[in-house]
Symmetry: C2
Subunit: 273 residues, 2 copies
């Protein structure tokens, strides 16, 4: 039976996360498996994914794989899936998976992005796709804090309670905060973000790539950056909180709507093009 690898995009706002759950919870895995079951003529299809995104978290580069009971061209699988899926999930591409491919176990890195708006009023049209804090933040201090995460660390301070992972050590390959200057036309309006005239709104984008992530780890990382950016914690204080390996010492995680799984990387040769 052919094994397919697909790239998925979804709006996490309507889902209780990726992973199928007992009961009536709407999950991304659930709607994709339901669509594939119809494509497979009623046979159950199990889908594995690279990242088990939490409730409310978006994706533009989730990678998933599954077997189908009949041979179809990947482009036909993609088109058929998009005809069966609800509008808040889309297959962006499809390919045959190479032998032994597993979207999570074969992955060498994942890239997440957190978009954070700052400013006194939360814009209605952005409230579902960006986190928001009402304070202005010190970008320089946040950049320094983001660099703390780089390299191999025990991230036990950032682990969600009640999770039962074997190790909380992860290696962070990239950790950058960028202030987005919206491209504004002559009139001072902003055609990209849709930020109104004269609003002191600004947007920060945090990108982090690692060999793996603990549950809520990125949102906790951003929580740490915001604490430093506001000045409620120094960079040294954040470093000490990281070394303490105690999640009670760590600032609260930010809301899920600002987070997107952007890309999953595989070693060359593991993915057929």
């Amino acid at each position: 039976m052919p094994v397919y690898r697909i790239t998925l995009a979804y709006d996490g706002g309507g889902f209780q996360g990726w992973q199928r759950q007992a009961g009536a919870a709407r999950t991304v895995q659930g709607v994709v498996e339901d669509a594939l079951r119809r494509l497979a003529g009623g046979a159950a299809v199990t889908v594995a994914a690279a990242g088990r995104t939490d409730a409310g978290v978006h994706a533009i580069g989730q990678v998933a794989s599954f077997e189908l009971p009949r041979d179809m061209a990947p482009a036909a699988v993609q088109a058929a899936l998009n005809g069966l899926l609800p509008a808040d999930v889309r297959a962006l591409e499809a390919a045959f998976a190479p032998p032994g491919f597993h979207p999570r176990r074969s992955a060498v890195a994942k890239l997440y992005r957190y978009v954070l708006d700052t400013g006194p009023v939360r814009l209605p049209t952005r409230r579902l796709l960006a986190g928001h804090v009402p304070w202005s933040l010190n970008l320089g201090a946040m950049e320094e804090a983001a660099a703390l995460y780089l390299g191999r660390h025990d991230f036990a301070s950032l682990a969600s309670s009640g999770s039962s992972v074997k190790t909380t050590v992860r290696t962070v390959l990239r950790s950058t905060v960028t202030a987005i200057e919206p491209s504004r036309d002559e009139g001072g309006r902003d055609p990209v973000w849709g930020i109104p005239d004269g609003q002191p709104l600004s947007t920060l984008v945090y990108e982090v790539e690692a060999d793996g992530f603990l549950r809520k780890m990125v949102r906790s990382m951003v929580g740490g950056l915001v604490a430093v950016g506001r000045g409620t914690l120094t960079v040294d204080g954040l470093r000490a909180a990281l070394l303490r390996r105690d999640r009670r010492a760590w600032p609260a995680p930010l809301e899920p709507c600002g987070l997107t799984l952007v890309r999953v990387s595989y070693p060359p040769g593991r993915v057929l093009e």
Copy 2:
């Protein structure tokens, strides 16, 4: 009694348009008037707006005015309103209105923006904030078509059926199509729009400013531009359809979710700062 002028932003997706309706329809006017009634200690407050946006249409610069039975500082009105309003409507600023001010009758121009994504797959995270067509479009032809709308014309071909306006003549002051090149970082990913690697998605922004608009006029203007951009109509054919003053000759309007009321302009001196 003091009269206030406020600037409103809203996500139109959850509203049956601006205008209060009989029955249970959720409208922007309805939720703002309900919030102001609570602010006014139970007294009914009527709100006038510059533009009666349709169901699904967003705003970042709607202007509204109302009287309150007691004197409050404008900043306090704004803060109190934002505490009472649902998250999909926000007051961005507030001021005392000058004598005789009416948000629609005093306005000299309104600026609308339509954001249109093109490409084979509609991205889930953008589906509520941009229109979408699956075709690639000829930007040069669309620019030429957009210039047709400039100046004083009878827009009867673009008027919604069953509307009873006195005149369908309007003067268009600005009409521009812009292709947005998302700012991409070294990795080729796009931190602003969140467009995934390698997707042939592109975004067009149409901005139109006029002394007034007929119902569905902007969405019909974009319908005309898309017909020309696809090649189903020539620029000359669109000009002929405009001159015919018959709405059956005009391409269908685009969906409302791509449209935003950006700014309302008043003559100098009509708005107290």
